[in-house]
């Protein structure tokens, strides 16, 4: 236990992933779902950086991938918040179950 190995970090990543998934599945508020997505992305980042530290000597691939993930997550959040505001504008709620106007 005293030595922290790769698996320790990966388990933290797994917990982050599962809680993020749970959040995405149970929340009906669009922004709540977005929060779940952020958790999932963070779990991916933790994994990437842990792999980079333990498995990829001096290659920095994991860190760079994580950097791109952070950039994409920021972009995604900006866009998603814009969509949420638009949703609120059109159907007056951010409850995703009520946004059914495109359903066939």
């Amino acid at each position: 236990m005293a030595t922290i190995s790769l698996n320790h970090y990966l388990i933290v990543g797994a917990v982050l992933f599962c809680t993020g998934l749970f959040t995405m599945m149970t929340k009906r508020n669009a922004i709540g779902i977005l929060i779940g997505v952020e958790l999932v992305l963070n779990s991916v980042n933790v994994n990437l950086i842990a792999f980079d530290r333990y498995l990829g000597p001096n290659r920095m691939d994991g860190q760079l991938m994580a950097l791109f993930v952070i950039v994409l997550a920021a972009a995604e959040a900006a866009l998603a918040v814009g969509i949420c505001i638009n949703l609120y504008k059109n159907v007056a709620t951010v409850d995703v179950d009520r946004a059914t106007s495109l359903r066939g």
């Binding site: 320790h8 388990i11 963070n42 000597p57």
Partner: protein, 278 residues
């Protein structure tokens, strides 16, 4: 001279009811309230001068009167805890220097990483991460969720620091906690009708999601522990920002440029989405 501003309260009440009818039909329908109810609620909110104030320390002061004056210690404790985390987090990145020094003096000194301290820090930070991520999925109030997410993001940044990825840790703080999260909170403020808005999921939904996620977690952990990772034993020294940047602009130049273009597109798209309809 028009006595236009001499509006008495009755008129004002009528007016508010009318306003509520005119402006908030969608809201009242969503909340299942009558129009007059909605108007009265709004009036009550408006005229609620007598917001009661309670002393925060009252209940506690009766039990532990001595504790009350220790309030000034709170920031001390908080600051020290966080400082401890941050101080020894980046410290791990200087492993290389410490290692060379240690070898110079015949291995008498002992580097912190790999030691008890690092393990302790890891469990502290990982525990915070896990608790806060659980907080995100348990919290019902959307603002509480955002605050838990904030804690989760901060502790993930500390994990990065423990993993000697200083740059990523700092970027996580800068972009995620400072930018993305504020954006999310902004979205929450713009779209929630009140701070206490809740959308309750069904019990069965909760159960199903819990089962699926629990099974996934167990499966993932089993798979992780069962795997042998190659090169697992060696701990690499922290990478420098210069090396990171050099690699980003040589090997990863194309993705870097593509990310730039993507950000541009997103900026235009977000501006288009959120613009005021004319």
């Amino acid at each position: 001279m028009p006595y236009a501003n001499d509006v008495n309260n009755d008129l004002f009440l009528n007016r508010m009811i009318f306003n509520a009818m005119a402006n908030s039909t969608h809201r009242t329908r969503a909340e299942g309230l009558g129009l007059r109810d909605a108007a009265l609620i709004r009036c009550a909110q408006t005229f609620d001068h007598s917001r009661r104030l309670k002393p925060a320390a009252q209940g506690r002061a009766k039990i532990f009167p001595a504790l009350d004056c220790l309030r000034w210690l709170n920031p001390v404790v908080g600051l020290v805890c966080l400082a401890v985390l941050v101080v020894w987090g980046p410290g791990a990145s200087s492993v290389a220097a410490a290692d060379t020094l240690a070898s110079d003096v015949a291995g008498v000194t002992q580097a912190v990483p790999g030691g008890v301290l690092e393990a302790l820090l890891f469990y502290l930070v990982a525990g915070t991460t896990v608790i806060s991520s659980l907080g995100v999925c348990i919290a019902k109030n959307i603002v509480r969720m955002a605050v838990w997410l904030f804690v989760a993001l901060g502790s993930v940044a500390l994990l990065y620091l423990l993993l000697a990825a200083n740059f990523l840790g700092a970027i996580q703080l800068l972009v995620y906690s400072g930018g993305t999260l504020v954006l999310l909170i902004f979205g929450i403020m713009l779209t929630s009708k009140s701070p206490w808005v809740r959308f309750e999921p069904h019990r069965l939904e909760l159960l199903g999601a819990a089962v699926i996620c629990g099974a996934l977690l167990v499966g993932l952990c089993a798979a992780l522990t069962g795997t042998t990772w190659h090169g697992m034993e060696e701990v690499m020294p922290g990478t420098s920002v210069a090396a990171l940047g050099r690699r980003l602009l040589t090997v990863y130049l194309v993705p870097f440029e593509v990310a730039g273009v993507l950000l541009m597109i997103v900026m235009v798209g977000a501006a288009h989405l959120a613009r005021q309809e004319k």
